[in-house]
Symmetry: C2
Subunit: 437 residues, 2 copies
């Protein structure tokens, strides 16, 4: 008899392993944060301190949010129904310039982490400012995060050496905190000089770090790149050494065939931000062309200011449906494939598939227990279909990250939502008084 920390019993286990196994009448044994075994329910080998009854539930890998700006929660709905340029330049950037203090970032990040956990997200790949405070907030909430400082021209111009230091400092500071990692994040080709971009590629190559950047979000960005550099955005980044690294490119809406060919043979992936791209009218991603080339496409919420929530299951549902119509093919992106984008594909893209993204012995216990006893998920014929087309995020009943329960029967374990809402109202007042001043 092996004594575990937690036994999850019953339900349908959606493994997302190589064989896409779905296991009924099984139990998941969790010990020291990891999945020790997935064995038949009547296997007497395991006992546990805590048992979770997952009858009438789906147990899935935790969801991965491949591109977001965690602390933007407090800008939710502040400026809607605007084009991207106006939205950024007239509202978001000025408000960021005035509001972003470490305290603001910490509080807004706690709010986001709480919202993400409630929605089943166990890992977020982030890009923003005051990233130590984002890391602290996520650690407090108990969720995994890859933080990265958004590298902008004005902050790093003439201080190239600080690029390496900025990442190393965070990596060292959180080296004992298994939930936190740090990537290198030049913001975009239109906010960084050639020198900064080249330095990022060089540092990433030397250190083996992931690069996280925006790419081809708008037509204007692509057109300007062609004009200024005589190359398409990814060709430009390629010429500076980017594609030699593991890159997460956010958006990729306006990528051309030549750029997709460049992506095909690399370790680079596209984080698809459907809601944001639709809402800001940025466009439709060349999803079919990417899928045809085997390019990894991941699901991402982008920041709350352009989404306007952190509901990544809804985002995936919209994406799976949208690109059927966009590609005139109702067979495109079937439910299982869409769910892979939300889980194992993202883990692979982030180089974290040894740790998370599927339910397999040896991996961390990062998982969601989703209650099927809701009207809108009954009857059930096919769990993948329900995950993508029918289930809502509020059916996520429990969430475990590295074996620790962070959502328990819909209640956050480490955070108090009422206190978070009070904080949100406090900061809203501050933001409104800034706008009026």
């Amino acid at each position: 008899m092996i004594t575990c920390d937690t036994l999850i019993k019953g339900g349908s286990i959606i493994c997302m392993d190589e064989d896409f196994r779905i296991l009924d009448h099984h139990q998941i044994a969790i010990k020291d944060g990891k999945i020790l075994a997935i064995s038949p329910l009547d296997d007497p080998k395991y006992s546990a301190v805590q048992e979770l009854d997952a009858s009438d539930c789906l147990i899935t890998p935790g969801f991965i949010n491949a591109h977001t700006h965690i602390p933007m929660t407090y800008f939710r709905g502040l400026a809607d129904d605007l084009p991207l340029d106006d939205w950024l330049q007239k509202y978001i950037w000025p408000m960021e310039a005035r509001m972003l203090t470490p305290d603001f970032v910490y509080d807004a990040s706690l709010h986001a982490a709480a919202e993400m956990i409630t929605n089943g997200i166990t890992l977020a790949n982030d890009m923003y400012f005051h990233i130590d405070r984002i890391a602290d907030a996520c650690a407090t909430a108990g969720m995994r995060v890859i933080v990265s400082e958004a590298i902008l021209e004005h902050a790093f111009s003439g201080k190239l050496s600080q690029i390496r230091d900025s990442v190393r400092r965070i990596k060292e500071r959180y080296q004992d905190q298994a939930l936190v990692d740090c990537a290198l994040a030049p913001h975009a080709i239109y906010t960084c000089s050639r020198e900064i971009l080249a330095e990022c590629a060089k540092v990433a190559a030397e250190e083996g770090w992931i690069i996280h950047t925006h790419l081809s979000e708008t037509k204007v960005e692509r057109d300007n790149c062609l004009k200024e550099h005589g190359m398409l955005p990814l060709q430009y980044l390629h010429s500076l050494g980017f594609t030699a690294q593991r890159c997460i490119f956010a958006h990729g809406v306006w990528l051309e065939e030549e750029e997709l060919d460049l992506l095909r043979e690399t370790d680079c992936s596209i984080a698809i931000c459907t809601d944001s791209n639709l809402k800001l009218s940025s466009g439709f991603a060349p999803m079919a062309q990417m899928k045809a080339r085997g390019i990894k496409t991941l699901m991402a919420t982008d920041g709350v200011a352009s989404n306007n929530n952190l509901d990544i299951l809804e985002e995936t549902s919209t994406t799976a449906k949208l690109y059927k119509a966009w590609n005139h093919d109702p067979l495109f992106m079937p439910a299982r494939e869409a769910f892979a984008m939300l889980t194992i594909d993202s883990a692979k893209a982030l180089g974290m598939d040894q740790i998370t993204g599927s339910l397999e012995p040896g991996k961390a216990a990062d998982l969601c227990i989703i209650n099927l006893n809701h009207l809108q998920s009954q009857p059930l014929y096919n769990p993948y279909s329900h995950l993508i087309y029918a289930i809502s995020s509020h059916q996520v009943r429990d969430v475990l990250i590295a074996g620790k329960q962070v959502l328990k029967n819909h209640q956050l374990v480490n955070l108090d939502p009422a206190a978070l809402i009070d904080k949100a109202k406090y900061w809203k007042t501050k933001i409104l008084s800034e706008i009026q001043s």
Copy 2:
């Protein structure tokens, strides 16, 4: 002092009246199923048997689902990731032929009504079979419904006189049931002969009944119509007298300019079924061209088999975002306009704006109380923005229809969800054994 049945106190009242008023610090006095008054909170004129505290809530008109097939809940996810023709002809129609009994329809309709109420829908415009059982189920649930028998060639061929009778019979049967009405619903141009369509137009004109039909859902439908009748689908229906009546046309994806011109001056509206149109890859509706002409566009879930849920707020959110990108215009369909499509515009299109669709004295108390104390709706700057871009349907806390509370603190008043889920599982077993036989 006037004694009312219910007083709803506090919150922000989203009136959706002509001036789009948003009233804070007010109360809604409800008597005999109707809104008696909306007055300041400190107005001492009203007392009530029941008080509902709506602090930290939005109070909105109930949502209107302008096109659905209520009893299809039990086919949820039965056959996904298929083209419309295969889906209809290989799965849905054969299954309907074998399964549809009055009991099946009643149970499935109760399930749908429960799901719709939970999602804030107070009125559904339906088309299906065994419609008396649909009406019974909705009446039991306490929700408004316009039922209509789907008129198909094989059922009505050679029995033209039964078309009028089929509607009249239901209208008479439910004349004392204020929540139920009946429309005339030729299924589509491709499932009804010219004779049947012409008879429907004639009967509707003589009786003053609403026509509810599918129109231009797929390219195939349009192309075949051109081939067979030498006209576009709406031109064909127009030639048979349809546009002289108040019509609700579902889908309208492939409408051409000439057809939109025909719609402009009529009492006809288009029920937009975004999720279904995306999932079945039917296409994108000419929303900008419709809006430019002032054609009323309404929100609809279509049936659950192609959606796969009855979450119309999510549907509206997707629609508002999608058509921004589709029309290359981030200012297109701003949040307030989208919310009007879900409420007052639909009521107008259905000729029911004297009864429902906005919160105004004299109208029925059909309303939702939406709890804002959720992480994903805080902070709040603009209620319309949150309704369309941030809020999830599970934040709908209370629903009143004709003044009667049908959802109370997230619990259905007239229905037992556990019993409904048991029924769903029972019918699923039957369906699966039919498939295997």
